[in-house]
Subunit: 321 residues, 2 copies
């Protein structure tokens, strides 16, 4: 059996990878022709593309091929959900060194395929090429089912600010890995395999969300995008942002390793969990999966309990990403 | 002014690149949100993704940023045309070393944008990330306007085989570059900036083309895909495959440089011009842009004037790609 993808060859590699991908009714024509055909019943297609680059977005010593495959699908599916859409299909471009192990690609394809299956989405096609730098670029497509997309510009003073999904666990997990620590698992697991609440995107749209995005760079920074696009301010409620047991345990473990961290910082500045953050009209009954964390105000910028949060506090996380 | 994209920074780079992209009515929501929204009036979207990797698909000493931008758009737009569709929008993922010159990216964006404008297609969104290896991954979407897609499996014995666009010029251009030769320009230009006949994709579909693809790996190899998918053979007419002046001049220049090449080989085995090859029912009046080059037969495989063409003859070109 071929040990590396260079020995396996391009066509055998494509056959091997695509065999692990789920099928979906939305994929009218899958891999094998010049292009795929994907259903777009709404007459509009929501589309996004995102890259994962080895050494920049993941490291082999910290993430398995399955983890990377999962994450490559999840980060793109979260972008579709953040528009209020349901995903219809993904395309996958894989650029990889010929000496990459076939077993890594098998795990990658299984992780990617499993996350697609969990989201009910098929893989419509892709591209394989050689590169010195292992690079995965995924394109996700989605359908709005006749609804308006939930953009970043619709937040209005008085709206509730709410979050669905995890906050800060992935950033804490990355810090634990950098410190050589293996606990708490909840943080490491979320860093390796984020679990964005895909269903909550269309759900929020159906409940009248006025603005929405996925938290990829940190809650404060990403809500800042909504503030700028909508011409509003957001005040976060400190009481709603109490770190849970996993974040507190992570902070304790890091402190014991000589790297003290305020666990609230993970919540406010940690990205890559791909939680959804949205604003809702004040009288909205929020779905159970959403936690109210603040309020939209007149003005600009993000505050916590009325206090401006220091931008420099979050730069550290931006550097380590 | 920032000299490198690392000095410029991610957000300024995105603003600078997107400023050079054309707009299109099909792009309902462009760059700046979690995802773009693209019109899909047909209710289906044709979608394809393709990578260009520095050192594998292009070299800085042979191609300018503008050339690479042009080619990145063209090779994806050709795949959309080859399904019989019209392009609606592109997504662009750029992974680049921080030390890449801003001027290179400016030229790249202009070349990419110009080719999009020429094809009447907008850029809906994208992604920028850091990588040691300059990598461009483009996703193209298209619309079938109610027609069936032209796949690879519909060719029937008796059908005419025809080609629109250039054959062999790009491969000859690559050999000239490898030999350090600067003439004939037609070959070098086609290698750097292929000009696929996008309009001929929907045109062929409207005329009833039974199978179609774009010639990216060489006419014989690519027609082999139609043969396998359709369960037929193709016999090419030697009289229809006479090399034109540019290919003859390229062969002469290479021979003078101690690299003798049969110019017919460029026609039969050269890819990357992204010509369209299609099969049509026998009585079809071909559009003026199409040249009849052979006939579909019962059987399997591709022959030229009834003779099997040696596979080894084309391996050389596969290696140099």
């Amino acid at each position: 059996m071929a040990g590396t993808i260079g020995e396996l060859g391009e066509f055998a590699l494509i056959a091997r990878v695509t065999a692990r991908f789920p099928h979906s009714d939305n994929v009218i024509l899958g891999p094998g022709d010049d292009a795929a055909i994907v259903g777009a019943p709404d007459g509009r297609v929501v589309a996004t593309t995102d890259a994962l680059v080895e050494g920049r977005h993941f490291r082999h010593e910290w993430s398995s091929g399955g983890d990377v495959g999962h994450k490559a699908a999840a980060q793109n599916l979260a972008d579709i959900a953040a528009m209020g859409a349901r995903p219809t299909a993904l395309l996958l471009a894989l650029a990889a060194p010929p000496e990459l192990r076939v077993t890594w690609v098998d795990e990658f394809a299984a992780g990617f395929g499993d996350e697609c299956a969990a989201a009910g989405v098929g893989v419509a096609g892709g591209d394989v090429s050689a590169s010195e730098t292992l690079t995965i670029v995924v394109t996700a497509m989605g359908d709005l089912a006749g609804r308006s997309a939930v953009r970043r510009e619709g937040a209005r003073p008085g709206d509730a600010v709410a979050v669905a999904g995890n906050l800060g666990l992935s950033a804490a997990g990355l810090e634990l890995l950098q410190a050589g620590l293996g606990e708490p698992r909840a943080c490491l697991d979320e860093h390796r395999r984020p679990r964005p609440p895909y269903e909550q995107g269309p759900e929020a749209a159906a409940r009248g969300a006025t603005a929405m995005l996925d938290v990829s760079d940190g809650l404060v920074q990403d809500l800042g995008h909504i503030c700028r696009a909508s011409g509003v301010a957001v005040d976060l409620d400190p009481a709603a942002l109490a770190p849970g047991p996993a974040l507190r345990a992570a902070a304790d473990a890091l402190a014991a390793a000589g790297r003290p961290r305020d666990p609230v910082t993970f919540l406010l500045a940690g990205g890559e969990d791909h939680a959804l953050a949205a604003t809702f009209p004040p009288d909205t009954a929020l779905p159970a999966q959403w936690t109210r964390v603040g309020r939209v105000e007149a003005g600009s910028g993000v505050t916590v309990g009325g206090s401006r949060v220091s931008a420099t506090g979050w730069d550290h996380y931006r550097r380590v990403r």
